[in-house]
């Protein structure tokens, strides 16, 4: 199967400023791919290279198997794009704006356009300059979605949307994916990426630091495990298990961080009489923060109490 998006050592520099460095990505058809990173990490730069809005300094990018710099128009025919920040025509109404974008694409399914307008609760009769931030975002979303593109490239799509409209947006995304379409979504809202994405890539300082399924990424972050024993606490035995760190003994309880498979910890615990066994799965946020060398607040406290290191 040809990857919908494929980049090979994609690099973009802005003079002496870093953009992205040797980014390798592959996005398969029918998946929702999340592109995560804080502000300035290189998310928008990557997206703009994929759409040939800017040209790579080195490396290559392919969308639908077409090199982005060779035939961008063929790519654009099959793409719906929502920029992170955009302005449209102040004097046109929302409806006229959508009509213009539809015309640029040579037409569309008007019923689908109407359904999107209705579902996003957009008043198309108002001038663009009169819209609130959220309503402008809705116009952008409908413009990106209305022609049922094979690939949706969405840069911070939920910015400015209220929770109800966000729900509608994710429902529309699910329907698009159910139709076999692909979504490439950049965000720094980790909860929405966790909810919507099949796979995510984390970009840091212009470089991809991790690409995996959302659930696999979670495994990479430490589980927080708490064992409560009926008798003395065998801390030393647990400290020797591979992947175990930050072991803290307190009365009959033993708390630790477990990275990777949890089975060795379960086996070791089974040799003792346990009162309780609690394992908390890490969130994507914890994974993300771990990649950036920052622990969430709860973990930070534990590290301060017993800094065994890994």
């Amino acid at each position: 199967m040809v990857a919908v998006i494929k980049t090979e050592k994609l690099t973009k520099s802005y003079g002496s400023h870093r953009g992205i460095v040797e980014v390798d990505l592959e996005v398969e058809q029918g998946e929702v791919f999340g592109f995560l990173g804080p502000n300035g990490a290189g998310k928008t730069t990557t997206i703009r290279v994929l759409l040939d809005l800017i040209r790579p300094t080195a490396g290559k990018a392919f969308v639908f198997g077409i090199e982005t710099t060779v035939d961008p128009v063929s790519i654009h025919r099959r793409v719906g794009y929502l920029p992170g920040e955009f302005t449209l025509y102040d004097r046109l109404t929302g409806g006229e704006t959508l009509e213009y974008f539809a015309n640029l694409r040579g037409g569309l399914d008007r019923a689908y356009q109407a359904s999107l307008i209705e579902r996003f609760d957009l008043d198309p009769s108002r001038k663009f300059k009169e819209y609130s931030k959220g309503n402008k975002q809705k116009v952008g979303l409908v413009a990106a979605l209305q022609h049922k593109p094979d690939l949706l490239v969405l840069d911070e799509p939920t910015a400015g949307l209220d929770p109800l409209v966000q729900q509608t947006f994710f429902a529309v995304l699910r329907e698009a994916v159910a139709d076999g379409r692909t979504v490439f979504l950049s965000s720094h809202v980790l909860s929405e990426a966790e909810k919507a994405c099949d796979r995510v890539a984390i970009i840091r300082d212009g470089r991809i630091v991790m690409v995996d399924r959302v659930d696999a990424l979670r495994d990479l972050a430490a589980h927080q495990v708490e064992l409560r024993f009926t008798g003395p606490v065998p801390a030393a035995e647990f400290e020797q298990i591979a992947g175990v760190s930050n072991v803290v003994a307190e009365d009959h309880a033993l708390r630790m961080h477990v990275t990777g498979p949890i089975a060795p910890v379960v086996k070791a615990a089974a040799r003792y009489e346990l009162a309780d066994f609690v394992s908390r799965e890490p969130s994507l946020e914890e994974t993300f923060l771990a990649q950036y060398g920052q622990a969430p607040p709860a973990q930070a406290t534990a590290v301060e109490v017993a800094d065994h290191g890994r």
Binding site: L53, R55, Y81, Y100
Partner: protein, 560 residues
């Protein structure tokens, strides 16, 4: 507890240098001064440079007492219609008197336009853009914000007119060749004060209106008042019905204050200063008392749906440019209509007087001024600069697709970059065609009303359109490299062309310098004399510029 809740947060005080408080980021005033630096440099440089250049040119072009007598005779012997165009002629035979008569209003316009743009935009457009919310949320009142911004502009204008005053005095000292040419300090100060105060009146008007109706309405009404005030005052003698309306602006109040001509009316500056201050106060108070960004909606009719341009990029570009095009066309059309309507009367005036004809022929060689077309050609030369600025604004509009961030979404559709550049550029050319057609109709109507040949000048307006198209071509070529400066570069070319065309012959510079001005190659189309070189040059520049723009867009990154 309540007291604690009410306590202001303790900030760690740190020293803000005095320099930063006056220029930089240390205060609203300092930031406004910093933002005004380019406009200040342009305005002060343009005014002082123009003063020095025209003063030098006058004494070189009219070096003898005889030539000055002829010049004065020309200025004072024309009919009321003609003197209405140029204003009151006093001591035109002296260097200062001639500058005051021919160029005085130009200096006022520079300061007035600068003030209108700066003061209408300083709060209203920031409110529109949203940045004002951040400033207004700072721990000081809205009145203080407005006062600091106005104070900064007043400082910049004061400095600029002070430099103009100095340049005026230096021009008098350096270039005076005949008795009466020297410009005393009193005259330089009086001229600079008049330019500054009258300019601030129109800026204040724009500022006050902008708080209620937004920047466009504020600047538009003030601009209209500036032009209308000038025309009404100068034609009040010919058309007495104009007098009550003419008295509404400082152009009438200060009509007798002609310092460079040695005629002073200091008291006339007092009401000008009071009116300017009053409007600035109204603006400040309106800003302080009204909601940030609140504007009275001024309903303007929408373009008919087919003209909004929803079918494709060419149509969209035309639709987007059309309101501006119609605004320019209206202004230019009224001007051309008026010029065409009076040209026959002026030509007849000259034809009746052999002395006047001789003088005119010496001052404006090469113009067949005994015919309506010839006189129209002479007057329409001014319109090249206005058409040029119209082209600059149209190019800025074209560039706004990218500078505003729209282009990113447009190019994510199956619209190739060169196609966008060329299609939207063709939209600009279509707008220029519309503007030219309206000017042609107006000049035809004016000529027909005066009973002179209408078809030749109608065809002649095509030269204005060709010049605008060439300038737009320059803008597209620059836009292929960087759209953010395309409009500014076109404006620079317009000013440079005007100055070369004006100064090169007067200073008897080598002919090749004058030939650099495109307007020097456009012949006299109002009398049917076309210069094929200029026509071809315009067409080639327009076509090549558009192609270069498309080529450049294909190669570079799109600004995000």
């Amino acid at each position: 507890m309540a007291a604690e809740l009410g306590r202001a947060p303790l900030a760690t005080p740190y020293h803000i240098s005095l320099r930063s408080r006056f220029y930089g980021l240390g205060s609203v005033y300092a930031k406004t001064m910093r933002d005004s630096r380019l406009a200040f440099i342009v305005a002060a440089g343009l005014m002082s440079g123009l003063m020095l250049a025209v003063s030098a040119a006058i004494t070189k072009a009219y070096p003898t007492a005889d030539s000055r007598v002829q010049l004065a005779s020309l200025a004072t012997s024309v009919s009321g219609v003609a003197s209405g165009i140029a204003g009151k002629a006093v001591n035109v035979g002296t260097m200062g008197g001639y500058v005051q008569w021919k160029y005085g209003p130009l200096f006022l316009w520079i300061v007035a336009i600068w003030s209108m743009m700066a003061l209408s935009g300083t709060l209203a457009s920031e409110a529109h853009g949203g940045s004002l919310d951040f400033v207004a949320a700072s721990p000081f009142g809205k009145r203080r914000i407005a006062l600091e911004k106005v104070a900064a502009h007043l400082t910049a204008v004061t400095l600029a007119v002070a430099i103009l005053g100095l340049a005026t005095w230096v021009a008098g000292a350096a270039f005076a060749t005949l008795p009466g040419d020297a410009i005393p300090v009193q005259a330089a100060v009086g001229f600079a004060l008049w330019v500054g105060l009258a300019g601030l009146f129109f800026g204040g008007l724009a500022f006050a209106l902008a708080q209620f109706f937004g920047r466009a309405v504020g600047a538009g009404v003030a601009g209209f008042a500036l032009i209308a005030g000038w025309l009404l005052q100068n034609y009040a003698a010919t058309v007495p019905a104009f007098t009550p309306f003419a008295l509404l602006t400082p152009v009438a109040w200060t009509a007798d204050h002609l310092p460079l001509a040695g005629q002073y009316n200091w008291p006339s500056l007092v009401p000008t200063a009071i009116a300017a201050a009053a409007m600035l106060v109204i603006g400040v108070e309106a800003f302080a008392r009204r909601d940030v960004g609140a504007q009275q909606a001024v309903r303007t009719p929408r373009l008919p749906r087919p003209l909004r341009g929803l079918r494709g990029p060419i149509g969209r570009s035309i639709g987007e440019r059309l309101p501006l095009t119609l605004a320019w066309s209206l202004g230019l059309g009224i001007f051309t209509l008026a010029m065409a309507a009076i040209s026959k009367a002026l030509a007849d005036d000259v034809a009746k007087s052999p002395d006047l004809l001789k003088t005119f022929s010496q001052v404006f060689p090469g113009f067949g001024i005994t015919t309506a077309g010839g006189f129209l050609q002479l007057m329409i030369q001014l319109e090249y600069i206005v058409v040029g600025f119209a082209a600059a604004t149209l190019v800025s509009g074209w560039a706004s697709d990218e500078t505003s961030g729209r282009l990113e979404m447009l190019l994510s559709t199956p619209l190739a970059r060169p196609r966008w550049a060329i299609s939207s550029g063709l939209g600009v050319y279509a707008a220029i065609v519309v503007m030219t057609a309206i000017m042609a109709v107006c000049v035809g109507l004016g000529a027909a009303a005066a009973g002179s040949d209408a078809l030749t000048p109608m065809a002649g307006t095509i030269a204005l359109g060709l010049y605008a198209a060439a300038l737009a071509g320059v803008g597209f070529a620059v836009g292929g490299w960087r759209t953010s400066i395309a409009g500014e570069i076109v404006a620079l070319v317009v000013v440079a062309t005007y100055l070369i065309d004006l100064i090169a012959p007067a200073l008897q510079l080598p002919d090749w310098v004058h030939q650099l001005a495109l307007t020097a190659h456009l012949g006299q189309p109002m009398v049917g004399h076309w210069d094929a070189v200029g026509v071809v040059a315009c067409l080639v520049i327009a076509a090549a510029g558009l192609s270069l723009g498309g080529w450049g867009m294909r190669r570079r990154d799109v600004a995000g």
